[in-house]
């Protein structure tokens, strides 16, 4: 137990520094450069390679078939060619027995019936028996709507965050956190562009979950920065922020660890359909952990967050009560310490 005496509720940085502090904030310029490079690389990927959108967004038909034994992809491809589905993409899906057929919208064809026609012609050609595992058909108008709604959802989520953080903390923090979130989303999308992993509705849902998670991380650090500004009497904003990041380091690592652990389990066991969803979340959690430490706080700092900005609410009536409560707690704490010591002494 610490030997330091607590005279009032204003501690110093030194009071709170028990372990060695890692000077995270001194790397913040480097981190900004790294992030900038990451974002640029991601955007390049997005423009050069583009996203491999799933049928949810492009419209079209997906048919998943389960064969009794390893399926001959070439045979299926030929059979489809012969039946007039020239653009059909045929590939194995998860295992040798599973086959996924993707058919882009065909001009002038009753699209909802394509899947049944494909099944009929495959039944005619195929020597190995198979069963239908999944059909997904999305009409062109629905595809457009989903794309539009999806983009809007991300924008709404970001605006919601901007408002909430601005209300709860301070405007500069809010800019910092939204910048971090945009960074996370862009980098995650970038990985999908470069790897050409399929981007479908579940991945979009994962992106929104990433926003939630990364924000979660950011808020926890901000919360500590705010608390430190209020309770520490010395230190520059950079030092205070650095302390907060250090204090939350163990928590950040632990939570990222537990989250990653379940996501990896989802990635491995969850099956092919949920694969890219888990992938997006894994990337998002890793990037989000990094960005909440560096981007969010660094941007808030460079925008000039200071002690005074966060002390404001203290002057209000409700917060005066809070202060009172804090003082009461301090008092009770000391009492408890005395009691505990006495209790110890009382023991034979």
């Amino acid at each position: 137990m610490s030997k330091k005496k607590i005279q009032n509720n204003q501690k110093t940085i030194a009071d709170l520094t028990t372990n060695k502090l890692i000077n995270f904030m001194s790397y913040r310029k480097l981190a900004m450069i790294i992030s900038l490079v990451l974002v640029l690389v991601s955007l390049t990927g997005l423009f050069v390679k583009g996203l491999n959108f799933g049928v949810d967004f492009t419209g079209g038909t997906i048919i998943e078939l389960g064969y009794d034994k390893a399926a001959d992809v070439n045979e299926i491809r030929d059979a489809l060619q012969d039946s007039g589905y020239k653009g059909a993409v045929v590939q194995n899906f998860g295992s040798a027995e599973d086959v996924l057929i993707r058919i882009a919208p065909i001009e002038g064809m009753q699209s909802a019936k394509i899947s049944n026609k494909v099944m009929d012609s495959l039944k005619e050609f195929s020597s190995t028996p198979f069963e239908l595992r999944r059909v997904e058909f999305v009409g062109p108008q629905v595809g457009e709507e989903l794309t539009e709604d999806g983009a809007l959802a991300v924008v709404y989520a970001l605006i919601g965050v901007l408002i909430y953080v601005a209300l709860r903390f301070e405007f500069r923090f809010s800019i910092g956190s939204v910048a971090a979130l945009i960074h996370d989303v862009i980098v995650t999308i970038g990985v999908f562009a470069w790897t050409q992993a399929q981007f479908d509705l579940t991945v979009l849902a994962a992106l929104l979950a990433v926003i939630g998670y990364s924000l979660n991380d950011t808020i926890v650090v901000f919360d500590r920065i705010r608390e430190n500004f209020r309770t520490i009497r010395d230190g520059t904003p950079v030092e205070v922020t650095n302390l907060a990041v250090n204090q939350m380091l163990a928590r950040t690592i632990m939570t990222s660890l537990t989250t990653l652990v379940v996501l990896i389990s989802l990635f491995i066991f969850g099956g092919e359909i949920i694969h890219n969803f888990a992938l997006a979340l894994i990337i998002g959690v890793v990037v989000g952990t990094y960005s909440s430490t560096y981007i969010a706080s660094a941007i808030a700092l460079s925008l000039g967050v200071s002690k005074e900005d966060l002390m404001k609410p203290i002057k209000e009536g409700a917060s005066a009560e809070e202060q009172e409560a804090e003082l009461t707690r301090m008092f009770l704490e000391e009492q408890a310490q005395i009691e505990a010591k006495e209790a110890l002494k009382a023991k034979p």
Binding site: A112, Q141, L146, L152, L204, N216, R251, L257, V261, A336
Partner: protein
């Protein structure tokens, strides 16, 4: 919490908090319990329109099953429906065909999987999770109602009404036609125009705005439906289509179908367990209806086709093989007048036929016409409207097609009223489908399937297994990590996490929210994120332990971490709400489980662990914490 001027540090929960927690735990276990009992293969029997089941029905069902040597597990009767639980899936298929024969046209016999929840749990309202189609297999259709056709149709309805009014008031008009999304009424002179305007502004004030037009030489007005009338027409079309869909699906024999409106022009149809999607698509999307018309015997159809000239009051149609025929413009009766239709085989020729029964007014019209026209021919016109959205050169366009085929034209041998046969169909299947469509009623406007998601039963089962496996694996790993890092406190958090899982399942079961594969992913993610609250608290306690006593560290850890936890969870909820409001089916499932998980984790991770911690260490002389 700071009413504690007498107590030193309040590391003790009052008894009521423990009681409340116990209550939550007990409820959690009760309402998640129904999920461990599995399902019975069952047959669901629901009556068709205007039929009610009674004791004799039950008797005949039981006898039929007995003679087929099928033993039942239980026969339940509720809300007018029978649910027969059986022992095996083989029995289920056998029982279905037996019962279909026995009950014939009185009932819809459908395969079902009935939850085998014990009755005491059911009495408490306990039900197992409601699985989405991606977990139990089945078809999901999103159907788009062609509202433009619906509006056009309602214009045509008004044409007849307006004409009737004009005739009644003896206002002479040259023509009243539908053109460019409005009605164009032409008159011989300005006087009748004024009269008509007056009439319309009184009689049809709620429906039409009128505007004098100079399109044609004769004085004319353009009538446009008011926005309110248009939205009425749309609502009517949607409602009518939902009703018709429900009838058709009942005919298909699907247990627990979902038919819901989505937005202002779409209908969601979910058919659990249906595998034959081709048949389902045909039946759901079909707009086929019939019209009965007299044949124009005085003119030659072949010549009319060549010259393009058709005699007044008649129109050119074609048989399915392409032969032309002239039919009178006025309809005797249409598919709307059909109350019942059954397919069958004509005993003389052996060809398929449909036995039609008309309603009262249809029967009267038919009687009047056939009385006067013995020896003339009557034709049956098969009308099919379809709409499809296709991409042409990157542009999205709607393609509408209407086909009107004459399926037969037979000589009226004697007068008849409300019962007669239609022949001339290609095959027995067509007869069956036509009978089904006539029974179920026509759609108010054509529809197209704009989204389909079919999941085969094997994939559904795989999805459940893989989902469960990832939950269990992820859960165990988190347990290990927590126990390793936080020792005793980690174990306490693990108990809370387990309880959290139970609560999520209980809440989902109680709400009967749809559990989807992304929903399972949401649970997995929640397992990983729910411990965050405990991580925050425990790290804070560790930190506080450096400068204060055990008791005050515990207290401060919980108190100080709370604000952070609340903030962090609210933001995640925010993202979940956005997800819910924009998402479609499966994505909504993810948002729901994520939100429920966040809320229950607040309870278990904060209150739950605190209760245990207080019980173990609260106000006790503890020197060191195992954290």
């Amino acid at each position: 919490m700071f009413d504690s001027k007498k107590k030193i540090i309040n590391n003790q929960y009052p008894a009521w908090k423990y009681l409340l927690l116990m209550l939550v735990i007990v409820l959690g276990f009760i309402y998640s319990a129904p999920n461990i009992f599995g399902e019975d293969p069952a047959i669901q029997i629901s009556p068709v329109k205007s039929i009610q089941f009674n004791k004799t029905t039950e008797q005949s069902i039981l006898e039929a099953l007995k003679s087929a040597q099928i033993t039942t597990k239980k026969v339940e009767f509720s809300a007018g429906k029978f649910l027969i639980r059986l022992h095996s899936l083989d029995d289920q298929l056998k029982a279905k065909s037996v019962l279909k024969q026995t009950l014939a046209k009185q009932a819809v016999v459908a395969l079902n999987l009935a939850p085998a929840t014990p009755s005491f749990l059911r009495m408490l309202g306990g039900q197992p999770l409601y699985l989405g189609l991606d977990l139990r297999g089945g078809v999901h259709f999103l159907m788009d109602v062609d509202m433009e056709s619906a509006i056009e149709k309602s214009y045509y309805r008004y044409i007849d009404e307006i004409k009737a009014e004009l005739r009644k008031e003896k206002i002479r008009y040259l023509g009243l036609v539908y053109e460019d999304e409005a009605l164009l009424a032409k008159f011989r002179n300005d006087e009748s125009l004024e009269k008509a305007k007056n009439l319309i502004s009184i009689q049809f004030a709620d429906y039409f705005t009128q505007e004098t037009s100079s399109i044609s030489k004769s004085p004319s007005i353009i009538l446009t439906l008011k926005p309110q009338a248009i939205s009425e027409a749309k609502k009517y079309a949607l409602k009518q289509n939902i009703t018709t869909l429900r009838n058709r699906i009942d005919e298909l024999g699907v247990a627990e179908p979902v038919i819901q409106q989505q937005g202002d022009r779409r209908i969601v149809v979910q058919l659990p367990g249906v595998q034959d999607t081709a048949k389902a698509k045909e039946i759901l999307g079909a707009t086929a209806t019939l019209e009965f018309r007299l044949v124009e015997e005085k003119a030659d159809a072949v010549r009319a086709e060549k010259t393009g000239y058709t005699p007044n009051g008649s129109r050119l149609y074609h048989f399915r093989d392409g032969r032309p025929i002239l039919l009178k413009r006025s309809i005797i009766v249409s598919g709307d007048n059909v109350t019942n239709a059954q397919s069958g085989i004509d005993s003389e020729s052996g060809s398929p036929q449909v036995n039609v029964t008309l309603d009262g007014s249809g029967g009267r019209k038919m009687l009047a016409i056939t009385k006067k026209n013995v020896g003339n021919r009557m034709a049956v016109v098969y009308i099919e409207n379809s709409v499809e959205t296709i991409k042409v050169n990157g542009e999205i366009v709607k393609k509408r097609t209407t086909s009107k085929d004459v399926i037969n034209a037979a000589v009226i041998r004697g007068q008849f009223a409300n019962r007669f046969q239609i022949t001339g169909l290609d095959n027995p299947n067509e007869a069956q489908d036509l009978a089904l469509l006539l029974r179920a009623g026509a759609l108010a406007a054509p529809m197209e399937i704009v989204e389909e998601r079919t999941i085969g039963p094997s994939l559904g089962a795989d999805n459940i297994n893989q989902g469960m496996l990832s939950i269990i694996a992820g859960f165990l790993l988190v347990l290990v990590v927590m126990a390793w890092r936080y020792k005793t406190f980690g174990m306490i958090a693990n108990v809370a996490l387990t309880l959290n899982l139970v609560l999520i399942v209980a809440v989902l079961s109680l709400m009967q929210a749809t559990l989807t594969l992304p929903g399972i992913a949401g649970i997995v993610l929640t397992v990983g994120m729910a411990v965050d609250a405990n991580v925050l608290i425990f790290e804070r306690i560790r930190e506080e332990l450096r400068s204060s006593s055990v008791q005050s560290a515990i207290n401060a850890g919980y108190e100080k971490a709370f604000v952070t936890i609340a903030d962090a969870n609210i933001t995640t909820l925010l993202a979940a709400i956005v997800l819910f409001s924009f998402g479609t089916g499966p994505i909504k499932g993810f948002a729901i489980t994520l939100s429920i998980g966040i809320l229950t984790s607040m309870l278990t991770a904060i209150v739950g662990t605190r209760a245990v911690v207080n019980y173990l260490y609260g106000n006790k002389p503890v020197e060191k914490l195992s954290i």
